[in-house]
Symmetry: C2
């Protein structure tokens, strides 16, 4: 059954005001992050490569030593193990983030 | 430089009325497909796993032997080498598609 709908996926709480929905194949995980205004994803890193883009709202992202305000149409590529964090400055925000390999912790 | 904006990416024409913008890391490629109403992506397959979701518009997708009308919030996971095709029934449509490994032909 290759099809899904985001409404049918369980939400997972990542931090105060930050929930995600995730779907995985064998090689990668696609997620949508939902962030309330003022919520934050604390500094972290992971071996998974991460590519993201903003669907709605505005966030401040810090990737490595670069800081940027990002909104619809902005995106980023985070190489393996590069430290990053972000917070939502105008919400609610929705962000598409994909990871390779699969994020087993989001399953 | 981890950041990009979709407006700054070159468009690539895939078929009549179908253009894409793509950005790649080392393990995957994120793309946005832009489709005019009535345009189509002909049947094809590739070794890359593909996960997609509709941002705007409505498409009919056929993945393997399953046919589905998809619109905002709908998504799909296409395993390696599974034949698929689609056309835009209500446009313009925008579809986020990610591929692992990297789609060298979209670079």
């Amino acid at each position: 059954m290759p099809f899904f709908n985001l409404n049918d996926l369980n939400s997972k709480n990542l931090a105060d005001g930050v929930t995600i929905k995730a779907v995985s194949g064998e090689k990668m995980t696609m997620t949508v992050f939902y962030l309330t205004e003022g919520s934050a994803v604390p500094e972290h890193s992971h071996p998974h490569e991460q590519i993201g883009t903003v669907l709605k709202g505005t966030l401040e992202l810090i990737i490595g030593n670069e800081t940027r305000l990002v909104s619809e149409g902005d995106g980023w590529v985070i190489p393996s193990d590069v430290v990053h964090k972000g917070h939502c400055v105008e919400g609610p925000a929705e962000v598409m983030e994909v990871f390779a390999p699969v994020r087993e912790d989001y399953a």
